[in-house]
């Protein structure tokens, strides 16, 4: 599907990945414009419900990114997030929801290049997977 431009939402923490993405900008590295960022104080703040909401609202892919282990501005928010995602991923997979559509990563404030690469690779993968039609169909109501 060459014309397909996926919608990807990135949930990122303010201190590492948001700053890392800022660095991508200041370094003028280019990446795919299909990804937009929503800023959170910490990955620990990111409720799994928001990921569901993103898919339900038509996201084809999701990036969740924060500070590397031990680098969390709040010391352990990312560790809590990591546990949450371990369980959440397992559950989605069990339900037959393709977890390749959710990319988790640690991108530090210094990793501007990693951010660009992550976005490009994720966009490419989502583009290959195509629109998340299976999930988006759920939005239509089963009104008999």
């Amino acid at each position: 599907m060459p014309d397909f431009q996926p919608k990807i939402v990135a949930f990122v923490c303010n201190w590492c990945t948001y700053a890392g993405a800022d660095l991508t900008g200041t370094s003028r590295m280019k990446y795919s414009p299909q990804v937009s960022i929503i800023r959170f104080p910490c990955t620990g703040r990111i409720d799994f419900m928001l990921l569901l909401k993103a898919f339900a609202s038509g996201a084809d892919g999701i990036i969740v990114s924060g500070c590397h282990p031990n680098d969390c501005h709040y010391s352990s928010g990312n560790f809590h997030a990591r546990r949450r995602w371990i369980i959440f991923r397992g559950l989605l997979d069990f339900l037959g929801i393709d977890v390749r559509r959710v990319q988790f990563s640690w991108v530090s404030a210094a990793e501007g290049a990693k951010w660009a690469q992550l976005v490009n690779e994720t966009s490419e993968r989502i583009r290959e997977l195509g629109p998340f039609a299976g999930y988006q169909r759920l939005r239509g109501l089963g009104v008999g």
């Binding site: 809590h80 546990r83 559950l91 339900l95 037959g96 988790f104 990563s105 089963g142």
Partner: protein, 266 residues
């Protein structure tokens, strides 16, 4: 069974407890919960393989709490539920004792530490059959799993019987009842049903003691136990933790280890 009745009589006669929550024969050959408040009524108590309900759910009901101290006839999962509820600050040690019917009489566990010791000695693993069912699921293709659950969830009525039967769903305001923002659609349509069931499973991860009451409660027969067993199994394999093993906080999802697995994180 006689030992159980005898014990119930004694506990009520000595006013050690004000109510014994146990099982009585119910409709359709199944057992049902019985609240024995008079020693004379203790003869109605039974305990056999039909007695499946996790009676700990009643410990969270204000109407039952008002009756006073309770003796609860407990199955293995019930004991773990009691500990999990205690770890979540929901139960006072003085509010209950657990009665565990066994081959040689009835064990009366009146402290959390006694329950902990008992639970530590019992088999808390998923059964071989449960494990192999999970393995069967893991072996299925992604689409096959999706179709399976889509069909299951399409039947969900959002009657919340799973939630009502679950002793750990004691929240007085469930996420599904939060509407600012509206996290989960109220109507029982496909999206609402999926989000409801994912949310419930996530909220039980690391807390569910695999009593199976959600599945038994579901009027349309959705195998909710599969979700919970999957998460129990993941919590164990990823964090080496089990819910309901101790009456103090040891929550697998609000704690962490620096070296938790992260092979999926780039």
């Amino acid at each position: 069974m006689n030992a159980l009745r005898e014990k119930a009589r004694e506990l009520l006669a000595t006013k050690t407890v004000q109510v014994v929550i146990g099982y009585a024969p119910g409709s359709g050959g199944a057992a049902r919960a019985l609240f024995v408040r008079e020693a004379a009524q203790a003869g109605e108590l039974v305990f056999d393989e039909t007695c499946l309900q996790n009676l700990a759910a009643y410990l969270m009901k204000p109407e039952v709490r008002r009756l006073g101290r309770a003796a609860l006839v407990a199955r293995p999962a019930t004991l773990r539920t009691i500990l999990q509820l205690a770890a979540e600050n929901q139960l006072a040690e003085s509010s209950l004792l657990a009665l565990v019917p066994g081959a040689d009489g009835v064990l009366s566990l009146s402290t959390f530490s006694a329950i902990e010791a008992h639970v530590a000695a019992q088999d808390n693993d998923l059964s071989a059959a449960e494990k192999s069912e999970l393995e069967k699921f893991a072996a299925m293709g992604l689409d096959e799993r999706r179709e399976f659950w889509q069909e299951q969830f399409s039947r969900c009525l959002k009657c919340y019987a799973c939630r009502a039967a679950c002793p750990l769903c004691y929240c007085t305001r469930c996420t599904v009842e939060c509407n600012q923002p509206q996290w989960i659609p109220v109507p029982a349509h496909d999206l609402g049903n999926l989000e409801w069931n994912v949310m419930r499973a996530m909220h039980l991860a690391g807390r569910c003691t695999n009593c199976g009451d959600c599945s038994r409660a579901c009027p349309v027969g959705i195998p909710l136990y599969l979700l919970n067993q999957k998460l129990c199994s993941d919590v164990l394999s990823s964090f080496n933790q089990r819910s309901g093993m101790a009456a103090r906080a040891d929550h697998s999802l609000s704690t962490f280890k620096p070296d938790d697995p992260e092979d999926f994180i780039r």
